[in-house]
Subunit: 228 residues, 2 copies
């Protein structure tokens, strides 16, 4: 390898150089807390209390709030504060509309073996977790499954979109009383879907997926009552 090629290769690591500002790290922390349900949907996040707890200034915290607001995890109401987003039923419907588009287009493409391996790994993890009755893990593995599935589109922007979308879906799960009943039936479906994709029967996979998502949406909407 020539020197020029070596440095060209090195430039791939460029993004890893980007450190992060305090505001971004604060956003990371809050995102994680929201995602794990520590902050519940609808809850108000006090600027004073949180800035004090994290030992950052209100200004810095507000920058972090803006970031998460743009990701639809927080709801910023003028002069009233920021609240953990509480998705409406219409939000759920829209989320599934987008999923149908993204996942549908994903299974219609010729899959790359590497990303397909990720899909399969997520599926197996979900199965193992289900066998161990660990429904929390089943849920996250299931999310990984669909995230990997969408990454078959081979588009960074779509990956990012799906990430946000699933984070938003997590909010929905947190207001449901019984997430295990929701995740259980899909462990098996994931295997079937992956089988269809692997064997190249793309239209069948797409049809199966549509049915899959219809079913999930119906279950979710039925069980979902964001009114307290």
């Amino acid at each position: 390898m020539e020197v020029d090629d070596l440095v060209a290769d090195l430039s791939q690591d460029r993004p890893r150089l980007g450190r992060s500002s305090t505001a971004e790290r604060v956003a990371d922390i809050l995102r994680e807390r929201i995602s794990e349900g520590f902050f519940q949907p609808g809850q108000r996040l006090s600027e004073e209390a949180i800035s004090e707890a994290l030992r950052v200034s209100r200004n810095t915290l507000r920058e972090a709030f803006r970031l998460l607001g743009h990701e639809r995890l927080l709801d910023h109401q003028l002069n009233r504060g920021v609240f953990v987003r509480l998705p409406s039923v219409e939000d759920v419907l829209d989320l599934y509309r987008v999923r149908r588009v993204l996942e549908g287009s994903a299974v219609r493409r010729p899959p790359s073996p590497q990303t397909l391996a990720l899909v399969k790994e997520a599926m197996r993890d979900a199965e193992r977790a289900a066998a161990e009755d660990d429904w929390q893990r089943v849920g996250t593995a299931n999310i990984r499954f669909h995230q990997a599935l969408v990454s078959l589109n081979d588009s960074p922007r779509i990956d990012e979109l799906m990430r946000q979308l699933l984070a938003e879906l997590r909010l929905v799960f947190h207001v449901m009383d019984n997430p295990r009943a929701f995740h259980e039936p899909f462990v098996e479906r994931n295997r079937v879907l992956l089988g269809l994709v692997e064997s190249g029967r793309r239209e069948e996979a797409a049809a199966y997926l549509d049915d899959y998502l219809d079913h999930a949406e119906k279950l979710l909407v039925h069980a979902y009552e964001p009114n307290r």
Copy 2:
């Protein structure tokens, strides 16, 4: 109508109450300036200069920067400042990947007459502008055409995504020397595409669209040299 019904109806106007903070209005101004090319891709936006010009504090301006950064219009580099985003060739490729997914799924659905009317109106506007040699207007009408086309998906989130995506594409146009040569051939194609959609030949429309986008992407990537 009962009183209860009246107030229930009134609650539809709830969103109109939402005023906007200074940071959001600042973001609106900057977004517009970037979109119209007043701020050129790659240009650095000084916190001090802009906060002074708009008479807002640096803190408020930074909140606005965070918003636009999340929309990929600004590039925030730690300790170096914010720059108007200068999309790379890979960005262009990815933008078109997403467009293929969004627009492709749009034309495969049964179109609603109202949104279809919007598509047609944008197409006609582009044609009129082309007849008058107003290529600036052709560009914006063409964007409206595709925005309306995507809205056939009937999903607010997809609409929003497309909006951002097209704003990002505008950045690309601004670094090209000759946008008119780029927009010209697509005026006619828009009419053909709309014809296919209207007559319900969805798969043909999808195929035509794929070819359309392939062509546009090739033209763009060929003419696009983000190196100064």
